[in-house]
Subunit: 159 residues, 2 copies
């Protein structure tokens, strides 16, 4: 009986890992592995820290500076959004991020003169997604929105 | 004979102080003065730290983290550019800045979906201008460029 529940979850994870956004994310993570110490690790293990369940979220205090590891993951996440945009649109999208000590901030992705993504960040301490599927969906949505903006304002994007 | 050299300099300073950019800068500086302790101070005194002569520049080391006061001045400077843009164009331009520990960074000003200003910052430790005139000219030029970008891409700016 347990299998019946597990198999869809495995399929969902496989589908998530196959998205171009997650592929970009994994590529950027592996690029950080200068010494090849993660070579034997599967993608799911590299991505594991991006998964934060509701219970885990609640346990993370939002007082004090966000953990440097969280900030690192946030950087990689938005860099992956930028990379996935570039793959699809052929235009570089570069991120700029500003996080205050309270874990509150702002991230922008720009292509040419166009802001393709602008997001206010809150509770950065708790940055994470409930599942690989949610991670893939969230990233893909950002990429889709950015591409749509580029299509609406092509001149500014190519400026 | 000394007067002949001084008078044009005074006139230049007065002209600089009358520009809308410097007025915005002074307004933002005075807004920081919660206790009214700068009330008796003339504008030139409030702006004095923005003036860094060539000799002074050379003496400022560019090793280590930039001074928090310099970062504060940098913030106010770009906020003033944003405010001056808003005054002229009627559209809010909000800055986002990212400075690394090496005093190297990037600043963006955006209006709607348009990047109205994008600048790479270097040697932030030495941020400053040779004279009030140079300060006014540099700020005004940034404002002019931003307004020109808004005129070129009005839809993105109003998005």
């Amino acid at each position: 009986m347990a299998d019946a529940a597990v198999i869809p979850a495995v399929k969902e994870t496989q589908a998530a890992l196959a998205t171009s956004f997650i592929k970009c994310l994994v590529r950027l993570l592996r690029a950080q592995d200068s010494y090849g110490s993660w070579e034997g690790k599967p993608d799911t293990e590299l991505l594991a820290d991006f998964i934060v369940t509701k219970e885990q979220r609640r346990e993370i205090p939002i007082i004090g500076d966000p953990d440097p590891d969280v900030l690192w993951r946030l950087d990689i996440y938005y860099a992956a959004v930028g990379l996935a945009i570039e793959e699809r649109a052929g235009l570089m999208a570069s991120p700029i991020m500003n996080i205050g000590h309270e874990g509150f901030g702002r991230v922008l992705l720009t292509a040419g003169r166009l802001v393709v993504l602008s997001k206010t960040l809150r509770d950065v301490h708790r940055f994470g997604f409930e599942s690989f599927q949610k991670l893939a969906e969230a990233g893909t949505r950002l990429v889709d929105d950015a591409i749509a903006a580029m299509e609406t304002y092509p001149d500014a994007a190519r400026a």
